[in-house]
């Protein structure tokens, strides 16, 4: 498609940069290549283009080991959550459980479909939460019927009486010593448990002295926090790189308020 613009290398005729780039990259037939190189070597203009292409190669090679910005904190947190979930699946007392047919990352396709909605928000946190909840489902079979070999993860404590509705979610066991994986456990579902609804959560947020405008709930789930029943809410903080893991007892007593992210 470029023939009409390829210089022939005849004396006085301008060189095509693309022709020289093809020559430089070894695209051309050997005979043509040999003929052109002999012409290029005697033409300062052509040699300058070849030198420019060499400089590009050097610039690109230098990029390999050049310092680059680190992975942004919210992506790193999401990665950590996914790997923690994978680690729990592999090592966390469910070693006989069958592996999911697909990696949790497949669920990120769902997260991506939400991207257009998230654009207004300007952060990857929702995706992180959406991905994390998918990871949660991959790891915690929950109340789905399972075959005999599949046990609930050891970290899940069933509290059949905790919910007032049929099919109420089971509280998740969360330890204050291990809050880093909480995003992966909670995800972006909102299960208010003993707080009943958003108003119940809002009341606790206000009583804790947090700014409700900055403290939007990303995900909410009943928990057993260090052995005490409560509700964990992942709240925004006003800083797009940070979430807050806010844990309250049913009477709004704050059990934990932990920043997540950097």
């Amino acid at each position: 498609m470029t023939d009409e613009l390829r210089g022939t290398g005849a004396p006085g005729e301008p060189w095509s940069v693309d022709l020289l780039a093809d020559l430089h990259a070894g695209v051309l037939e050997p005979a043509q290549s040999a003929r052109l190189w002999s012409q290029v070597n005697t033409d300062p203009g052509a040699r300058a283009v070849i030198a420019a292409l060499d400089s590009v190669g050097a610039d690109l090679e230098a990029l390999r080991d050049a310092p680059a910005p680190p992975m942004p904190a919210h992506f790193a947190a999401r990665l950590d959550a996914a790997l923690e979930a994978e680690s729990r699946r592999a090592f966390g007392g469910t070693q006989n459980a069958p592996q999911p047919a697909v990696a949790p990352v497949v669920d990120l396709a769902e997260a991506r479909r939400k991207r257009s909605r998230r654009l207004a928000w300007g952060t990857g946190l929702l995706t992180a939460a959406a991905a994390a909840v998918a990871v949660t489902f991959a790891v915690l079979p929950g109340n789905q019927p399972t075959t005999g070999g599949v046990a609930a993860p050891a970290t899940t404590t069933a509290q059949p009486g905790a919910g007032s509705e049929t099919g109420a979610v089971k509280p998740l066991a969360v330890a204050s010593s291990d809050m880093s994986g909480v995003v992966g456990k909670i995800g972006n579902k909102k299960e208010y448990g003993p707080l009943k609804n958003q108003a119940g959560l809002d009341k606790c947020v206000e009583e804790a002295g947090l700014d409700p405008a900055k403290s939007q709930a990303i995900g909410v789930h009943p928990v057993i926090f260090d052995g005490k029943p409560g509700v964990l809410a992942l709240l925004t903080t006003g800083d797009i790189k940070k979430l807050r893991a806010f844990v309250v007892a049913p009477d709004c007593t704050v059990l934990s308020d932990t920043p997540i992210g950097s």
Partner: protein, 216 residues
């Protein structure tokens, strides 16, 4: 399964030790490996895919794959080489999927687009200039150039990874380098200008690139 935590996950452990410990059931070994190499592999994913969301997804997918495949890691290869290849393959899977979705536009590489923070100091770095120049290439040119010129894969390996002919890899690299030479200012040499048909270059390459971008 017995786990040798503290001794194996110590900072002094080699990457190969960590892989072996992970395969033997050490729940912390893989995490240590990830933290050692995450940022470097993030840079690989970002320059291959350009879109930070996709790069993060690909890196996550790659690390999960590596987590599961660690048992089949062969000690004669470098862990970093092994991880690098898994990340690149995860990225290329996404490139192929993206190419199968013709209506999804590539993100514009304009100001404010990248999630990666930029500061005035970094703006002056050559590497940032080169990364931005790469962003101006069509995906068809950028991906082979990243694999061959930045990551150091051979033309033959790149052709195999991309499922295209070696001649196509060379040709796309040639076109991409020609454009980069211009974008990076290497073609501003007066001698070159005097004998290089700049308008022909513009006429051919710029519209081709725009057409490529707009067609996605």
């Amino acid at each position: 399964m017995p786990v040798r935590l503290s001794s194996v996950t110590a900072a002094a452990s080699s990457d190969a030790d960590l892989i072996a410990a992970h395969a033997a059931g050490d729940p912390r070994a893989f995490s240590e490996l990830v933290h050692r190499h995450r940022d470097r592999l993030w840079a690989v994913a970002l320059r291959t895919l350009r879109d930070p969301e996709e790069a993060a997804d690909a890196l996550q997918e790659a690390f999960i794959s590596a987590f599961r495949a660690a048992g089949s890691f062969r000690a004669e290869s470098q862990v970093t080489t092994w991880l690098h290849r898994i990340v690149v393959n995860a990225c290329l899977d996404r490139v192929r999927r993206r190419q199968a979705r013709p209506t999804v536009p590539l993100p514009e590489a304009g100001p404010g687009e990248p999630v990666t923070p930029r500061d005035a100091m970094a703006d002056r770095e050559t590497s940032l200039v080169v990364r931005r120049a790469l962003d101006e290439l069509s995906e068809e040119q950028r991906v082979p150039i990243v694999l061959v010129d930045v990551e150091g894969y051979s033309v033959a390996e790149t052709a195999k990874m991309l499922g295209i002919a070696e001649g196509t890899v060379k040709s796309r690299c040639a076109r991409g380098r020609a454009k980069l030479a211009k974008v990076l200012g290497h073609l501003r040499n007066p001698d070159a200008d005097a004998n290089v048909p700049g308008d022909a270059y513009e006429r051919r390459d710029v519209p081709m690139t725009r057409r490529h971008l707009e067609g996605r």
